[in-house]
């Protein structure tokens, strides 16, 4: 039989319309299988997986690992471990932590990562962790501008296959639970019942009970920072003024009253300076007396996130007034430059002395200004860089720092970070 069909534009358009109507009809019928219980056909499963792998491979081509990132750095592994326990282990399991049967019923099921991470390159892992995967339940990184956090998470994933249960417990759960049997699903988020002890244990997994940070300068020092500053910072994390994939989740996990208790607790811990000074130089109890701890926390403060700006403040394209030039300074000169910036400032570059706000032992200081001496070098330089790029929010005082940091060159940032990391107690 010989059927002749004349192809016309009208007929093609008709076919397209028919196709759309057909698809709508199928959707409208209510007969499409969306049940996780039935799973995918093998061919669908293959197609979806193949598409995903291709997408990750192609789209991660633009990812470049910064040269200062070393994925073997234990500090990076440490930084991301605590977050893995609360953010990832619930679905993917962890060393010594089985996956819950609840999770195993997901379609597609989240894989255990020990055996999987080897299949991806560093850049691909970065892409997946940062962007997440649609329709799979894999979320994106909560703070898109904090790429170094994502790299830390990648470093953790790289270390995961060889990680023993004991190592994992020490890194991610604060070591305090080593003897306990771990519940399926990992260390799940403590109930939001406002029990401060729970919350404190949660903080201590990374920051330690002493607030000095657990191990190898992996975490910023929070011990002895003024309580108003700590609370305002937690609040900034909670409402998104300050971005961090690591800190936003815990800051939103607890009630404002709990955050206040936490801030007071860590404010009372002796700072490194106080410790090396035999405790004489403890910061005065700035917290509660004259200055209101916080502008009254209203019931709805978390809801204001959408109204209060702060997220994605457009970074004004400011040209630094002095471009870095010449070969990099030797360490000694770098420290000297750092000292000069911290103590004297460079007036001609509109850089005031950092110490005017962040230092001055024994002098009253606005309780929203943190001290910097003894902070890890990586932390200071990473955050000054973020300030410099207009990506670092914080308390209501953050704009003051932004105004200053935008004038800093990379060398100045390195120098002042190095100096503060090594600064003695007198420099506080």
């Amino acid at each position: 039989m010989d059927v002749r069909i004349l192809v016309t534009w009208k007929r093609i358009a008709g076919l397209v319309v028919l196709g759309i109507l057909g698809a709508l009809l199928v959707g409208w019928s209510g007969l499409v299988s969306i049940a996780a219980s039935s799973g995918h056909f093998a061919v669908t499963r293959w197609f979806l997986g193949w598409t995903m792998e291709n997408a990750v491979e192609t789209q991660s081509m633009l990812v470049g690992k910064p040269k200062e990132i070393d994925l073997d750095d234990l500090k990076l592994v440490r930084r991301a471990a605590g977050h893995f326990a609360t953010g990832c282990a619930a679905c993917h399991g962890a060393p010594g932590v089985p996956q819950s049967p609840v999770v195993e019923e997901m379609v597609p099921g989240p894989p255990r990562l020990e055996g999987k991470v080897g299949e991806w390159s560093d850049e691909e892992l970065f892409w997946i962790v940062r962007n997440g995967i649609k329709y799979s339940g894999m979320p994106a990184w909560p703070a898109q501008d904090r790429e170094n956090e994502v790299w830390a998470q990648v470093a953790f994933l790289r270390a995961l296959p060889d990680m023993s249960r004991a190592e994992y417990v020490d890194l991610a759960l604060g070591g305090g639970l080593a003897g306990k049997d771990l519940e399926a699903g990992g260390e799940t988020t403590p109930a939001l019942d406002g029990i401060v002890e729970n919350a404190l244990a949660d903080c201590a997994r990374c920051h330690g009970r002493d607030g000095l940070g657990r191990g190898e300068d992996a975490f910023p020092v929070i011990a002895g920072q003024p309580a108003p500053y700590l609370l305002a910072t937690l609040r900034a994390f909670a409402i998104g003024w300050r971005e961090s994939g690591f800190m936003e989740p815990p800051a939103t996990r607890y009630e404002p009253e709990v955050l206040e208790e936490l801030a007071l607790y860590y404010a009372e811990q002796p700072s490194p300076a106080a410790l090396s000074n035999g405790d004489e130089d403890r910061s005065p109890p700035l917290a509660t007396e004259d200055l209101p701890l916080m502008p009254a926390l209203s019931e709805s403060w978390q809801d204001e996130a959408g109204i209060l700006e702060g997220e994605g403040v457009a970074a004004s394209a400011m040209v630094p007034m002095a471009a870095a030039a010449g070969p990099p300074l030797p360490r000694e000169e770098l420290l000297e430059l750092g000292r000069r910036i911290a103590v004297e400032g460079i007036a001609a570059r509109k850089l005031p002395a950092c110490q005017s706000c962040h230092g001055a032992a024994g002098r009253a200081r606005n309780p929203y200004y943190p001290y910097l001496a003894g902070q890890p070098e990586w932390y200071l330089s990473e955050h000054l860089q973020l300030w410099n790029e207009g990506k670092r929010g914080g308390t209501e005082y953050a704009h003051i720092m932004a105004e200053i940091a935008e004038n800093m060159t990379e060398e100045q940032i390195e120098a002042v970070s190095a100096w503060y990391a090594t600064a003695g107690p007198d420099d506080r």
């Binding site: 001609a348 005031p352 002395a353 704009h399 003051i400």
Partner: protein
């Protein structure tokens, strides 16, 4: 005819009165600005005369004598009218203009004041030792002030100009012409005021968002008053024990501002030791009152968009009020 002229004059009057005042090159109060104005009037008169002649000739050529010219008279017209006449007139004006210059460039016989144009204010230092020749940086030291320059009348005050950031231009229209403040170079400008009074200055080279609000005041006084002013400015701050000062230090204001006689020794922004003695704050944009000081501390960016000082409106209102009240006592 008569009523019409007086009507036009009446209409022009308010326009012309705009040429008077503290910031007008048409109302000179200095030797250089007088010469500049004279130059302007003579150039204007000359230009007007030449314009009238040219227009007259073209009328004559198109309406009066429409017939063809002989070769001879055509060539003569081109040589005399097109070559000789403009050469002689322009050369004469040029000679006269150049002749004024040496007189204006004579070195000063008064004080030397270093002025640094900085985004977006003027750093002033009296009693500095100027160096001869071309130098890269302004001399350091001296008695610091900001946004207000006092000079003695009838003296040739030498202003040394430079900048740490971008090119600015220093202009006090009533007293002298403009001079650029260029990073890495020191320029000189002599101010020789002939009248006492307060005059306005401005930045005359676009330097950023707050350029239009980068002004200053020039106060011309008799010489003995100038000496007394210098002596007063050299003193430390009048009030160094005040809750306002405590708050000033606590909140980090001292990172950028110096108040001599207190621990505040920042060098990024204006010296505030005698801020209340100045006529204006924020680089000539607001009269110095406690209210204005408080308003500027709270939201400088609203009063002066693009300003480099961060806003401190986040501080409790009573703290700002106390800081402003203290600054208001620093005469």
């Amino acid at each position: 005819m008569r009523p019409r002229i007086s009507a036009i004059s009446a209409l022009m009057l308010p326009v012309l009165s705009g040429c008077k005042g503290a910031q007008s090159a048409f109302d000179p109060a200095g030797v250089e600005s007088e010469r500049v104005l004279q130059l302007f009037w003579i150039m204007l008169a000359g230009g007007t005369a030449i314009w009238a002649v040219v227009i007259g000739l073209s009328f004559y050529a198109s309406r009066g004598k429409t017939g063809p010219y002989s070769d001879r008279s055509g060539v003569r017209l081109i040589i005399w009218g097109g070559c000789v006449f403009p050469t002689v007139v322009l050369a004469g004006l040029l000679y006269w203009g150049l002749e004024i210059m040496p007189e204006l460039r004579r070195p000063g016989d008064g004080p030397t004041i270093a002025v640094s144009g900085e985004r977006f204010w003027w750093r002033v230092a009296y009693a500095v030792e100027g160096e001869p020749g071309v130098v890269r940086d302004l001399p350091r030291g001296g008695i610091p002030s900001a946004n207000e320059i006092w000079i003695p009348v009838d003296k040739r005050t030498e202003i040394l100009l430079s900048s740490p950031d971008v090119i600015h231009s220093f202009w006090v229209p009533s007293i002298a012409g403009k001079m650029d403040a260029i990073p890495g170079r020191v320029n000189r400008l002599v101010l020789e005021p002939t009248e006492t009074g307060v005059f306005n200055g401005a930045c005359a080279e676009y330097c950023g968002t707050a350029h239009a609000l980068m002004g200053f005041r020039v106060v011309v006084v008799p010489e003995d008053e100038f000496e007394a002013y210098l002596e007063a400015q050299a003193q430390p701050a009048a009030v160094t024990d005040s809750p306002g000062l405590e708050l000033f230090l606590q909140n980090g204001c001292a990172a950028c501002h110096t108040v001599r006689g207190t621990p505040a020794d920042g060098d990024v922004g204006p010296d505030l030791t005698h801020v209340a003695s100045r006529l204006s704050i924020a680089a000539g944009i607001l009269p110095t009152t406690v209210e204005n000081l408080a308003a500027f501390i709270a939201s400088p960016d609203h009063l002066k968009p693009g300003v480099e000082m961060p806003a401190f409106g986040v501080l409790p209102e009573d703290q700002i009020a106390r800081i402003a009240a203290w600054l208001g006592t620093l005469e």
